[in-house]
Symmetry: C2
Subunit: 407 residues, 2 copies
Amino acid sequence: MKLIVQKFGGSSVASAQKMLNVAQRISSIRKRGTNIVVVVSAPGNMTDELITKAYEIADSPDDRELDVLLATGEQQAIALLSIALKSLGCEAISFTGPQVGIVTNGNHTKARIVRVGAKKIKSVLNQGKVVIVAGFQGVNKKQEITTLGRGGSDLTAVALAAALKADICEFYKDVDGVFTANPAIVKNAKKLSVISYDEMLEMASAGAQVLNARSVEFAKNYGIRMHVRPTFNNSEGTIVMAETTAMEKTVISGVTYNKDEAKITVRAVPDRPGIAALLFSKLGQADINVDMIIQNIGAEGKSDISFTLERENLKKGLLVVKKTARQLKAKEVLADENIAKVSVIGVGMRSHSGVAAKMFMALSKMKINIQMISTSEIKISVVVDRKDVDKAVNAIHQEFKLGRVTT
Amino acid sequence: MKLIVQKFGGSSVASAQKMLNVAQRISSIRKRGTNIVVVVSAPGNMTDELITKAYEIADSPDDRELDVLLATGEQQAIALLSIALKSLGCEAISFTGPQVGIVTNGNHTKARIVRVGAKKIKSVLNQGKVVIVAGFQGVNKKQEITTLGRGGSDLTAVALAAALKADICEFYKDVDGVFTANPAIVKNAKKLSVISYDEMLEMASAGAQVLNARSVEFAKNYGIRMHVRPTFNNSEGTIVMAETTAMEKTVISGVTYNKDEAKITVRAVPDRPGIAALLFSKLGQADINVDMIIQNIGAEGKSDISFTLERENLKKGLLVVKKTARQLKAKEVLADENIAKVSVIGVGMRSHSGVAAKMFMALSKMKINIQMISTSEIKISVVVDRKDVDKAVNAIHQEFKLGRVTT
């Protein structure tokens, strides 16, 4: 019998009515004779509300206890969804992460899955029940509750799909699928019917929030097909799968942007080995993730180092950088909050030359200044002024004729 | 080292500030060198709110899933309290019922504790940590989450105190202790410094809501001293313990009332064996609990049967009774919603005669009509018109000079 893992996000289950809608949908698929494992996130904004409660009590709440607290969100969701399904006459049973055997390492609030038990789920599926599993959570070897961090529920779904050898892993979202660009910004953005894991990964890290990068990576490693589709209608969305030669014919799959970054520049550092190593290890110790990094050797053997980081870390980052800059005898440290990153992504880039040139051309035509450039095998990112983002994304989308993509 | 189990109710932890107050209190006792196990209920009205959510989704939510849902309330409380304690520099660790090994039978939403694991808690106490355990919840043999029903957190506390051989089990309430009568009704009601398990049991079943009857029974069976005390000041409350001869010197410990009952009377039933058996087994099958029962043989070999039940069950109860009454060829069925039960309780009753007479005298002086009477070894209950309750309780309190009790 066919087996699907379906993942529903928090907005899909934010009210009693939405919960019943989701249950109706699951029930009707089940009736057609498909085994279903459902993974569900905490309803609505519950996770954020719980975090707020914890911070009302303590400035830096204990991580172990935060996990105990946050895990209740998904636990409520599975219970309510199971209640909804049973009220529709569809046999269902809920399991928390610990109950079902999602074993993680001990890294509280950002644990990694090390093992997923499939036995219990399989036996319940064989009884004809829909299995509902709490996303985002697991249990470590000490039987402590752990959570998987941002996007953890997507990860739970993919891990279960892998352990159960599911035919497909569906992600129900409040969007129709993955688009060539954000439809809110680009009017003629097109929904992609298919995209490769690598492109999806780059898109996720370049700002597209439709799927979490960790879950795409996991799916890629285990060859799990992902289907990103809308919650509130029955249309097909976007399949994320292994690269095929057909995909390479399309040069670019999409244009993404990220407005949540800021830039720090360390000016005129005396150039000697180990400067970057020192700077970025200090940032790493302060638990600050850095995205793009650029280093140029300038005049008089001095270098400029620029990098981007999440804007919410800017203040903390600046403290670390200024302290290190003094050690390094740098001339000055500059910060820019008003930047954004725009990226083009596509596996076709590998076999088509001139993609970068075409992108820069599009920006130049619109008189948009490029502050930083960074490239990977299937992605080119530039940093521009934040006010230029919409213009930049549209210009690039137009230049690559993405509105005409037939998928 | 001394070991205390402390139980805090939902109102004690209903906000961040209250949570911190509770943590402060625990921390200061811990600093004086006492091992502490804390049991905590769901914050504020959370349990009721979750039940409402479930009923928004289904008319009769599945019991197994209700338990999964409701258990999240206490889980949030333990996490937040542990966060609060750690923020005060007091080492603490939280455990859910399943984590700590509170094993119950499989009776969802009203499970009974069958075993309590002490090993894990003892080892953590030995590390000098405060142990925080979620009240109200456990796990059955199938590793499913169960809850213990009304007053379940009190029960968790007593069960842990028994398993750990604690010196005392403290219950922090929003009252100062157990009183000779409700201070809201009787101005000179006195706080009792000590009361026997049996008296506390009768008080609980007679309407005093300060402690849950199941937990008192459990404490009695295992000889656990209970200390009912106020959350928001440091004064001593009431100790609930085994009966001593000193207690018998006081005839009456208190007067209680219950305004949440209603009365049903089946009039003129042809008197033959098995009538009461049939009537009350039908009510039992409908899951309706009956409190007081009175049967009198009247004229022409016909009997009247009266009984009280929770008022919220009156409608359901009347349906059952009317159907059965037709079978029994009874003359009529009467219902009275406007009743209340008033009880006097005291182990001293056993050795002092005339207690009932004195109680009836007090009521007669106030011209309060007695509708039903029921007695047990240490309790006398009467049913009166609900509008007379305050007057009745005050008259009895006065008659037995309870305002002058020195405790």
